[in-house]
Symmetry: C2
Subunit: 219 residues, 2 copies
C-alpha cells in the first residue's frame, strides 16, 4: 500500500487561499510517486475574500477555508482536527497567501503571528513522530513559527524581508533557486520557493516535483 | 516566440466551474511545450454555487465565472469576448461541470442546450481559421453543439447517455480510454475523457498531457 501524505490546504486561490497550481502539482506528484494524498484544512473563515480578477478585497464577503479547499480536493477533504499524525507517513503544506492568512496570520503579524491550533498540532505531531514535513512558497514561514525553537533550516527563496522575519522566529534561512529545494536532514524538513520566485508554472512545478519526491524518499 | 494557446475556463471547482486539476495540468503542459496560455472566460454569473465539501447547492449564493476563473489564472485572464481568434494558434477547453453549466447549459438541457455567445463565437472563429481546437472531459459536448453540423469525431470516454446526446447534436462519438485522446484530423479537433473516466489525477493528467502536445503539434 502506498505511503499516505497529508496535504494541508488553506483555501482556493493564490491571494486569499492555497495557490492552486502549487496544490495541484503537489497532488499529481504524490500520485505519480505511488503515494496517496490525505487532504485537510482548518474549518474556519478565511481572513478575507479577494477578487482575483481585480486584486481587491471583496468587502463583506466570507468564505470557509475547508469548504473552499474542497474545490481543489474534489470533495475528498477533512477538517484538519480530524486527521491524526498516526495515519500519515509525511506532511506537506503548499503555499499561496492562504498559508500566511488562514493557516497562520504571518501576512498580518509577521514574526508575532499565531498559527491555527489544529494546523500547529498536526505539524508538531507529525514532526515529533520523526516523519518528514515539507512546505512550499510562503508556507515555510509557518514551519518557522511552529518549530523555530529547533533552529530549522528553511527557504522561501531569497526575499530579504521574509527571510529576516523567519530568522526572528528562530529559523536559519537558506537561499534557494526556484527549481531546487532545501533539506534539513536532521529535522526532516524540506522546503522550496515555488511562486515566491517562479516566473511561470513550469518553474514552480519543477521545484515542487523534486520536493515531493524527496519527501516520499525520506519516509 | 511560442505558440499562443487560448484556454477557456468556466469557473473554479469541478461541481460548478472548471475542473481545477484538468485546468492546471493543461496550463503546465502548455508551458512545458514552449507555448503560452491565453486564458479567458465569460463574464457571466455561474449557473449556481456548489459547496464542494457537501456537494449541496448553496442557495442564494452567486459567483461570476470570469472572477472565479481568475483564481486558476492568478489574475491573468480576460473576458472571452475580448479575445480574438487572430491572436491564437489553437484553443483548448478544460472540463468540469462549469463547461456544461456556465459555458453552455448542456447539464440542464442536454442536446437542446444553448452555448454562451462569446464562447461559441471564439470556438467558431478559431475553427474557421483552420486552427486546432481541443476539449477535455465533458467540454467536447460544447464542441458537438457548436460544430455538430460538420459531424465531428469526439470523445467523452464511454458514458452511453452523454455519447447519445452528442450524437443527437451531430457528433460521431468515439470511445476512448482515459489516458488516450481522439483526433479528428480533418476538422482539427482533439478530445480526451479526463475525469469523465479518471480514477485519480495521474490518469487524467496523462490524457491531457498527450492532448496538449498533439494540439500544439497540430498548429
Amino acid at each position: 500500500m502506498g505511503k499516505k501524505i497529508g496535504v494541508i490546504l488553506s483555501g482556493c486561490g493564490v491571494y486569499d487561499g492555497a495557490e492552486i497550481h502549487e496544490s495541484v502539482v503537489t497532488l499529481l506528484a504524490i500520485d505519480r510517486n505511488g503515494a496517496e494524498a490525505v487532504m485537510c484544512a482548518p474549518n474556519v473563515d478565511q481572513l478575507h475574500v479577494v477578487n482575483h480578477l481585480t486584486g481587491e478585497v471583496d468587502e463583506g464577503a466570507t468564505r470557509n477555508v475547508l469548504v473552499e479547499s474542497a474545490r481543489i480536493a474534489r470533495g475528498e477533504i477533512r477538517d484538519v482536527t480530524e486527521v491524526s499524525a498516526d495515519e500519515l507517513d509525511a506532511l506537506i503544506l503548499p503555499g499561496g497567501f492562504g498559508a500566511a492568512k488562514n493557516l497562520c496570520d504571518f501576512a498580518v503579524n509577521g514574526p508575532d503571528c499565531k498559527v491555527d491550533a489544529g494546523v500547529a498540532a498536526l505539524v508538531r505531531a507529525v514532526h515529533e513522530q520523526g516523519k518528514p514535513v515539507a512546505a512550499v512558497c510562503i508556507a515555510p514561514a509557518l514551519l518557522a513559527k511552529v518549530l523555530g525553537d529547533e533552529g530549522p533550516e528553511l527557504t522561501i527563496g531569497n526575499d530579504a524581508d521574509t527571510a529576516g522575519a523567519m530568522a526572528t522566529m528562530g529559523a536559519a534561512h537558506v537561499e534557494c533557486p526556484v527549481t531546487e529545494f532545501v533539506v534539513d536532514q536532521d529535522r526532516k524538513l524540506i522546503s522550496s520557493p515555488a511562486y515566491m520566485l517562479a516566473q511561470n508554472i513550469a518553474e514552480a512545478a519543477e521545484g515542487i516535483e523534486k520536493t515531493v519526491a524527496a519527501l516520499i524518499e525520506m519516509t
